[in-house]
């Protein structure tokens, strides 16, 4: 992994060329999360809050181990605790570290109307640039994982950066560094995917989890955060992980194709009016 400034691959609402694209050879990075070895210790939550200098905040106790109901604009990393009743009547405790998935095809970036408010680095990290954010919150409705969170005081949206500041300096993200069980790992996408596939095979063959598998949804081109799940056929059980995450067509077909065509057609009225005047002339009061 290179040390230094990350190179940019995609910029939201940007019309010109993208600076840095293809300048350096850079590997796709990936965060590996094995939910089967997570013990729910929340060291990653603390590390995230500490590294990003976010204030600790009051939360509500809702009779679970979960810190708060969902991630917040200043709380980007949350272990979701779910009790799942098994067929034999016993409960199974499903713990999933919820944070930005850093989609290969990011719905937030597609939805964003502000030039440069969201960027995707060539290593796959999707990062919000708050100084360019206009606070419209389209990213909130464009995200299939409900990750971007709005701060009504600053009128900006925030989310996990995959510690782009650390990764740019050749360090692993803070949550990875804090994990005591090794259920979190960080490396290239190819390495992490191979590791996840191997772990899923192990769960299938040796631990009796017939449906074990890797969550790396192809519907959004894969993600730069992947999960190993005991039951990959039911990701919804893990605190509402969508089986087939989709970017709303509002921000794909409509925004990319229909919007510019519609604008051009409507603006055609101007040259049509001009040439009407040139060819037909004005309607003077008669006589």
């Amino acid at each position: 992994m290179p040390a230094g400034t990350l190179q940019i691959r995609a910029i939201s609402a940007h019309t010109g060329p993208i600076p840095g694209r293809g300048v350096q050879r850079e590997e796709d990075v990936c965060k590996y999360i094995d939910v089967t070895t997570c013990i729910g210790c929340k060291a990653c939550e603390v590390a995230c809050v500490e590294w990003n200098d976010m204030p600790f905040q009051q939360t509500q106790f809702d009779n679970t181990y979960q810190t708060m109901p969902s991630t917040a604009w200043n709380y980007w990393n949350l272990i979701k605790f779910n009790e799942h009743p098994q067929d034999n009547g016993a409960f199974m405790w499903l713990m999933r570290k919820d944070q930005c998935m850093h989609c290969e095809d990011p719905g937030c970036l597609r939805a964003c109307p502000a030039d440069g408010a969201i960027v995707q680095y060539t290593n796959g990290i999707v990062d919000f640039q708050q100084e360019n954010c206009i606070g419209c919150q389209y990213c909130v409705s464009g995200c299939p994982f409900d990750i971007p969170k709005f701060n009504s005081e600053t009128k900006k949206v925030y989310k996990c950066t995959l510690c782009s500041d650390r990764v740019g300096q050749g360090l692993e993200p803070a949550c990875i560094k804090a994990c005591p069980t090794g259920c979190l790992k960080f490396g290239t996408k190819a390495d992490m995917r191979a590791l996840a596939d191997a772990r899923a095979r192990q769960l299938k063959e040796q631990s009796g989890f017939a449906n074990a598998g890797v969550y790396d949804p192809p519907s959004i081109g894969g993600t730069h955060v992947i999960y190993v799940l005991h039951d990959a056929t039911n990701p919804e059980r893990y605190g509402g992980l969508p089986k087939t995450p989709m970017i709303p067509p509002t921000y794909t077909a409509w925004k990319r194709v229909a919007k510019p065509i519609g604008l051009l057609l409507a603006l055609c009225a101007a040259p049509v009016a001009f040439f009407h005047y040139v060819m037909e002339g004005p309607k003077e009061p008669q006589p």
């Binding site: 109307p113 030039d115 709005f150 603006l267």
Partner: protein, 261 residues
């Protein structure tokens, strides 16, 4: 300052509820008291002070909302247009307030124009023959064309329709956390469609009100039009406003012009 007797003569008590009528008349009276419309010889009162104030109130908010909206509409416009409003974040902040101003001002305009904008059977005839209008084929409009022609009415009702769509789809976009993500996804598309309808209509409206029809713009600024403008574009209104035959007056003026040339 001309009292609104001409305007009142064209409204039928059957068409409009008396409450709206009363409100409208009193607004016209009160706002009219602060301004004046000078009608010279060979001119007619077209739009009284109240109508003009409401129209330009609508127009100002419309243009502000349109510009700030299209700044966010397309990446091709974002960098070019948002500086007008103090940057992207400020544009986003102001747009809903401009729009609210437009909706409120336009509500007064709907009340003001409900009666003359009502669609009549004659308007279908006009629409069927719209080609003759666009191609400038007829020197003066057909006798039945009243205060507004069918094209103006169509524009008005298109704006009414898009304004309703704008408001209903805009509120979820203004308060996305209250209304939820799905309503934003759908509202976004509807908002765009309404914007395109408005932009298209707006361009035509400006052209028709200025270059295309000399003598029209002053109706919305000074409030008056020439008599020959009235019999050319709105013969039925000319007949009601003056009690004279538009076609006869037109022919007479034409003969006079021919004799003098």
């Amino acid at each position: 300052m001309i009292p609104s007797s001409i305007m009142r003569s064209r409204r039928s008590p059957v068409m409009m509820s008396s409450a709206v009528d009363r409100f409208d008349d009193s607004a016209r009276r009160h706002v009219g008291a602060y301004g004046r419309t000078v009608v010279r010889e060979n001119e007619l009162l077209r739009h009284p002070v109240y109508t003009r104030v409401v129209h330009w109130g609508v127009a100002i908010f419309f243009v502000l909302a349109l510009l700030s909206g299209f700044a966010i509409y397309s990446p091709w416009l974002f960098r070019a247009v948002t500086p007008l409003f103090g940057g992207g974040a400020m544009t986003r902040l102001l747009h809903p307030w401009f729009s609210l101003g437009f909706v409120l001002a336009f509500a007064f305009q709907i009340l003001n124009w409900l009666e003359p904008m009502t669609w009549k059977p004659d308007d279908r005839r006009w629409m069927k023959d719209i080609k003759g209008y666009v191609n400038n084929e007829r020197p003066i409009e057909p006798d039945y064309v009243d205060f507004f022609n069918a094209g103006q009415k169509a524009y008005f009702w298109a704006i009414v329709g898009s304004a309703v769509v704008f408001l209903l789809s805009g509120l979820p976009m203004w308060f996305p956390r209250t209304f939820g993500r799905i309503t934003v996804d759908i509202g976004y598309v509807l908002h765009d469609l309404a914007a395109l309808v408005m932009l298209l209509g707006f361009i035509i409206h400006i052209y028709e009100g200025t270059a295309s029809q000399p003598g029209t713009f002053r109706a919305m600024t000074r409030g008056t039009v020439e008599r020959r403008w009235a019999w050319t574009h709105h013969p039925a209104w000319y007949r009601r406003a003056t009690g004279r035959d538009p076609r006869a007056d037109y022919e007479q003026a034409r003969q006079r012009a021919n004799r003098s040339s």
